[in-house]
């Protein structure tokens, strides 16, 4: 277990998540992609923390990432519910008129 291997795993997680976030049509599936990306970020942050500078500050950063994840989830659920209620759909493609 070295910094490089941990970063490689983190990169793999991030890329898989990115693939999902770009390709999925359903809002909740996109959220799962984002979650997976953040999962990679957590792992990378932990690797940096352990192998480069094991100070308390690094832990705080990780805590913030985890918080960001929950915020993202909560808002994602809320928006998905709202979308679902208002237009009976949960497809990102069908929500494009939001941008018009």
């Amino acid at each position: 277990m070295t910094l490089q291997t941990m970063l490689l795993v983190a990169a793999a997680l991030f890329s898989v998540g990115l693939y999902g976030a770009i390709s999925q049509q359903v809002v909740v599936m996109v959220m799962m992609g984002l979650e997976l990306m953040l999962n990679g970020v957590i792992l990378a942050a932990a690797a940096f923390w352990w192998f480069l500078s094991p100070t308390p500050d690094g832990q705080v950063l990780l805590l913030v990432v985890i918080t960001a994840m929950t915020v993202e989830m909560a808002m994602g659920f809320a928006v998905a519910t709202l979308l679902h209620r208002s237009r009976q759909s949960d497809m990102t493609d069908m929500a494009t008129d939001l941008s018009r």
Partner: protein, 378 residues
Amino acid sequence: MDLRSLAARRTAVLAVEVPGWGRTRCALEQHVRTRGWRLADSPADADLLVVCGRPGARLTAAVEHVWGQLPGPRARAEVTTAEAVPAALDRATAELADGAAQRRDADGRPAEPDPGTTATATGDDGDGDGDMDMDMDMDMDDDSGDMDHGDMDHGDMDHGDMDHGDMDHGDMDMDMPMPGGIGLAGGGGDDQLADPDSLDLDVLHVPLGPVLPHWPAGLLLHTTLQGDLVVAARAEVLLPADGSPTDPPVHGTAAGRWDAVATLLALAGWDDAAVRAARVRDELLAGGQPPEADRLARRITRSRLLRWSLRGLGRLPEGDAHDRLRHWLAGTEQRRSTELSAVADLVTGLDLASARLVVASLDLDTADRVTVPVEAGS
């Protein structure tokens, strides 16, 4: 003590009451209790299937269906009088303990898995073919349009190519893209209550009864569930075969009231009080005058938690579920026959648990033979 006799100490019995044979079922419950056995919650839980009474054709089909869901080792018995219960139970126990017979039974069973929703499965939904008890009522009309993703013609949307064309209710062949022949839950149609959460959850058609513990004999309630909310219901009673029970009816007597108390309390999850109420009932049936009845009645009436969970359920002009329970306990119940239509109407809009409590609180006398199916929610 070998394992089999040890296991027999906890034999679980699934009782099926045919309308009119309440007395037999009470006797069965009493014998189960005095032997230290217990009543099963569902077919999967049961070792023994005991039919109390002579079921009619549709009820027989339902019993057969449930019989197929007992995991085995299993045995079944049919009793029609209270006196016949001990002998029938002894025979069934011997059959359970007969290893060779059980192995033969297991070998003879089909290998494919049983359908789900077992506690409620009826095997027969009135349309005669009865091979798939999941109502394939899939509301495929495009204007209602919330058969999720099914009717969306997206370019590369490869959703298991649902072909509306060969969606045939009659013969469900297994090459459909639906595993086990069970369709996706459909979206709500026009015939139902609008989803109170306006989330348009999937709709499931779940028949409640006729073989269901703590449930009126022979009652079959076709429910449409959205989430766990009953959005439409239709009630009917599956009839017994010709020939009436020889035992006097329990319903309408003091014992019948305690039977209703026991049923309601068992559903409310208060096992201790439920079992004690059943004991009072059995002593009354035996002609005794149980001294502990008053104390138990006071204890049940005093329970705040019970009052809290029953308050406001199944409101009728004369009171709610808890009022009716108090009347049973005080022995001041007015005789009144609840129409089946009223049952369907009362449970519509409730969640499954409340619906079950409401049905139990009505203390239906299905032996009255109200046979016309009645609908609510349409």
